[in-house]
Amino acid sequence: MNARSTGLWVLTGILLVVAAVPPLLVPVYARTTPTLWGFPFFFWFQFLLVIWAAVLTTGAYFLAKEAYRRDRAARGMRNGGSR
């Protein structure tokens, strides 16, 4: 980690936390309504969380890739191994 990558790593961490925490907040989504296509809220909301987490993790992937590239550049190492 260095001055040019710290911000990116922090942002990556925030995305991961925001992806992982909502499924643990069971009281928030343990309810029947509103239903969607006949599915109680409890079920369709968790399917939505799967997509939500996947999108955030994808974002984190691109951020971490750039942060990692900057870290290596700062240490004078060549990049390109991790395509």
């Binding site: 991961l16 992982a20 006949g38 399917f47 799967v50 987490a53 996947a54 290596r72 991790s82």
Partner: protein, 543 residues
């Protein structure tokens, strides 16, 4: 027996058998005589193959049978498998690239290799390896349980005869699996995983569209399940028994159990040796992070599959007498699908058992070979001897699991699987904390592991259910409260407390702390760096 379903099933089974043996020639290496080749498929799998391999590894046949079965039986926490598989991937993203880097640079094959190298402690490595092996064995056994229920619905299990004749089809399937795992190593499940996952996706997508449509749509399914559970609860209450069935955890008690099961299982999953095997077989650091973003596709699928348990309730599936909820999904497919597609569905589940069973036996064999055989029995073992030892042990492990399920009690395997989840989480502090810091003292980690293993085992044994006196549930009342949470989490808290206190005490007493064989830059190394060669030379380990 249904001829058409059996014919389709047999065709697909033979197809993967041929693929399993042919896999030895796939991405061929100069020699298969090293653990890097046999046990990790040459450490060269890219994003695409890794997606199938890790997905095929984590979402097992037992999952396909057991998760819908718990919903079918009306357990309010059954759907926790979905939040569990959501939480996993951000964690995978965070710490597994570090494990990949340090393992690649030092030629580590197992998580116990890493622990041994990091803490300079063979005993801590042994503790991690032994936990991995005993947690994996019942997991393999449960893959057999998954296969058994399919063979039963398929009519391949005559009810008469002794246990050997009765389970002959299972024997044959497992013999074939053992043979191609022996010859092709990790390449076999990697190649078969393509077929497995394609079939599973096909079957589940068809099932969640086709079957509810016949039953009046998803709204009708949920409505029927609700009234079914309500009347079953009313009947139980009238008989003076607790009313336990529900569609989802509507009260605080169920919600704590739900969240703690999801969290504990997620923390534990990548401590299982077979998950680590999948991760270490990837080509470069980026493959793991890319897969953390792509693997949730399987979580979506798992959620749909879980709901088929409700569909089975709505379809009034009969699961035998005495009832066996695990028959719900195969029986639903038997009842609802045309024969040929039912055959495809059965094949999907059975092949879904073969892939993880193969990877698990390879992972257990790697652990035995590296952290017991090489660490204690034959310290000068060459890579060729290691590979030979691992191949033999993979056979022993599989047949051990087979005998376990057939000759002993099946519920014993299920109890052990429950325990396995509690146990494997207790290797988390040594492995994951070790990826970031050497602050913990090796003996403190060992003490924390021991305390939590004993405590977790005792609590699990001591937890009754309405139908059994011991191993009745994976949820217990957290000490000092009235809230039920996952046993593994309580044991894990104990583990961390002991490790922290122990570290402070041992440091104050200046007890020697072992030599760290790794350097900080090892944890961020990528392919092409010094000592992280694309083609490993098995005769000359990198370090």
């Amino acid at each position: 027996m249904n001829g058409v379903a059996f014919g389709v099933f047999l065709f697909l089974f033979l197809l993967v058998t041929v693929m399993g043996f042919a896999a030895a020639r796939w991405r061929r290496a100069k020699t298969m005589d090293s653990l890097d080749e046999w046990g990790l498929g040459g450490r060269g799998f890219g994003t695409f193959i890794a997606w199938f391999l890790i997905g095929g590894d984590l979402y097992t046949a037992y999952t396909f049978i057991a998760v819908p079965a718990t919903l079918f039986a009306g357990s309010v926490t059954g759907f926790f498998a979905v939040p569990y598989t959501i939480i996993i991937y951000p964690m995978v993203f965070a710490f597994l690239p570090r494990l990949w880097s340090v393992s690649h640079r030092h030629g580590y094959v197992t998580p116990a290799d890493f622990v041994e190298g990091r803490y300079g402690s063979k005993s801590l490595g042994l503790a991690v390896a032994a936990t991995g092996i005993v947690a994996t064995m019942p997991y393999i056994a449960l893959q057999l349980v998954g296969m058994q229920v399919v063979l039963q619905v398929l009519g391949l299990q005559p009810s008469s005869g002794n246990w050997f004749l009765k389970d002959l089809p299972l024997f044959i399937a497992f013999l074939i699996l053992a043979a191609y795992t022996y010859s092709s190593g990790l390449r076999a499940p990697a190649l078969i995983a393509f077929v497995k996952d394609t079939l599973i996706y096909l079957v589940i997508i068809v099932a969640v569209i086709y079957i509810p449509h016949h039953l009046g749509g998803w709204g009708q399914v949920f409505h029927t399940v609700k009234s079914n559970f309500d009347s079953s609860n009313a009947a139980a209450a009238a008989a003076g028994q607790p009313a336990t069935k529900g569609v989802f955890p509507a009260t605080g008690v169920g919600q704590w159990a739900y969240a703690s099961l999801a969290l504990g299982s997620a923390l534990a999953l990548f401590m299982y040796p077979h998950s680590v095997t999948g991760v270490l077989s990837t080509r470069n650091r980026g493959v793991i992070r890319r897969n953390a973003a792509l693997l949730p596709a399987y979580s979506f699928l798992l959620g749909l599959l879980a709901l088929l348990g409700f569909v089975a309730v709505a379809a009034a599936v009969k699961v035998g007498n005495p009832p066996n909820a695990q028959l719900a999904i195969p029986q639903l497919m038997e009842d609802q699908f045309p024969s040929w597609f039912a055959g495809v569905a059965y094949a999907a589940i059975v092949i879904g058992a073969l892939v993880p069973a193969a990877i698990m036996s390879i992972a257990a064999a790697n652990l035995w070979t590296r952290n017991i055989y090489k660490a204690f029995i034959n310290r000068a073992a060459t890579p060729v001897q290691e590979a030979r030892q691992a191949k033999l042990v993979s056979l022993v492990v599989k047949f051990g699991a087979l005998i376990f399920v057939l000759a002993l009690n099946k519920s014993f395997a299920i109890n052990l699987q429950l325990l396995g989840g509690v146990w494997i989480l207790q290797t988390f502090p040594a492995i994951v904390a070790g990826l970031y810091t050497r602050w913990f003292h090796r003996w403190a980690l060992l003490a924390g592991w021991l305390a939590s293993m004993v405590y977790g085992t005792w609590v699990a044994y001591d937890t009754p259910s309405p139908t059994q006196a011991h191993f009745g549930s994976s949820v217990h009342v957290f000490p000092g409260t009235h809230t039920g949470i996952y046993i593994a989490i309580t044991a894990f808290i104990l583990n961390v407390v002991v490790a922290v206190v122990g570290t402070v005490v041992l440091r104050a007493l200046r007890v020697p702390d072992g030599v760290d064989g790794t350097r900080p830059e090892d944890y961020v190394a990528d392919i092409g760096d010094e000592g992280v060669e694309p083609e490993l030379n098995p005769v000359q380990p990198a370090h």
